[in-house]
Symmetry: C2
Subunit: 208 residues, 2 copies
DNA sequence: TATTATATCGACATTGGTGTCGTTTTGCAA
DNA sequence: TTGCAAAACGACACCAATGTCGATATAATA
């Protein structure tokens, strides 16, 4: 009755594998990475790898969840505490900490798209995708709604619909950028234009 | 020196295979369809199939090209002849013949997304994707620019950037709709909202 | 009708990836 | 130290898909 190694070590090993796997997924994409790729990148044997993850899907989902956790703690949000400035909050949510449009995209985004698109006929995967979508929509919608109720935003448009439009924009940009270089897509310029649009739709005139 | 069958027949057979293949791609998606699926759907033997198409990629590209041809001849455009009404033209281009937002999406769209995303590390495929993107952008940009020059549209925003934004929207919508049912995505409502936005950006007040 | 070019067929060898399982190694506790 | 539970290993059997190739069937010609 003695585990070979401490739980610490196990957690660490698992984390290491996930990190190595992440870079593999970034390089090859979801569909084209194989467990062998991961084995090599993580310096782990076949059997060793399968001890931690049942298969590629399991591994990728673990990485996805990990990502959610990280985001959650990074932006453990000033939340509604930073009151009144819902616009700033919205911008931070869209573009990260500095809150202004840039050309930085999540390097894992293309793999995520693959994962959900190619898995759209898989019940489990689709359900999971829906959950994430709803989650994303509700986060944006909540902020917008709060802003509208506080009077900071115009209530001309439905908050939920605006939230979905934001997601559509983000997804569309991620998709195009997954295939094309950012200059061709004009990521930054498109983002700025979209922000302009949001300002109109929400009647915000902030110049920051 | 006599072919076994007429060229007519060969064309026809090829077309039949492509049609059958299309429905297979729609059902299973690009990555998950196999040549065997196509063989069965098209009632053709392995050897027979490979006589017409070297592999799955070749087959899918043929379908893509076919699609472009069809679109081109469908909308062999009143073009700049239907002059002055660039807005109508724009709407037709986005939403098809009736020119108003609906929830109809190209059923092959999800497979197309797969094809380009999963092939983003393939030189040939990426180049092809870029060509199609540029093509799409230039079509929209041209109409917008014409409208701006004719005075029908405001020239406040760069036509190229607006064109890219349209593509981003369309792609984003296709992506989300590939995974989620259209009610969840609110395809029609989002489209209407986007059209509103375009009206603002182009200073169009048409109520049609 | 006989001939022949070739369209079509389907069996096959090959490939590449998966998940398992018996063996070996190793860190911790006694 | 020593014993052991389980972590790590890697060979292996399996499977699904691919592209090829020699054999066969058949439509046009002569």
């Amino acid at each position: 009755m003695s585990p070979r190694v401490s739980k610490e070590h196990l957690k660490q090993r698992r984390a290491d594998i996930m990190e190595a796997a992440t870079s593999v997924f970034i390089e090859h994409g979801y569909e084209h990475t194989t467990m062998k790729h991961v084995m090599e990148a993580a310096n782990v044997s076949r059997g060793g790898l399968y001890q931690y993850f049942a298969n590629k899907e399991d591994l990728f989902e673990a990485i996805l969840e990990e990502g959610i956790n990280q985001e959650a703690e990074e932006s453990d949000f000033s939340l509604e505490e930073s009151a009144s400035q819902y616009w700033t909050l919205l911008m931070k949510l869209m573009f990260g900490e500095d809150g202004s449009p840039d050309a930085n995209m999540d390097p894992l985004a293309p793999s995520k798209l693959e994962f959900f698109i190619t898995g759209r006929n898989n019940e489990r995967r689709r359900t999971y995708g829906e959950k994430r979508y709803e989650m994303g929509v509700s986060i944006y919608a909540e902020i917008i709604k709060s802003g509208q109720e506080s009077g900071e935003f115009s209530a001309r448009y439905d908050s939920e619909l605006l939230a979905k439009s934001i997601i559509t924009f983000v997804d569309g940009l991620a998709l195009d950028h997954a295939i094309l270089p950012e200059e061709k897509v004009s990521v930054k310029e498109q983002s700025e234009l979209f922000v302009d649009y949001l300002k109109m739709a929400l009647d915000v005139s902030s110049s920051s």
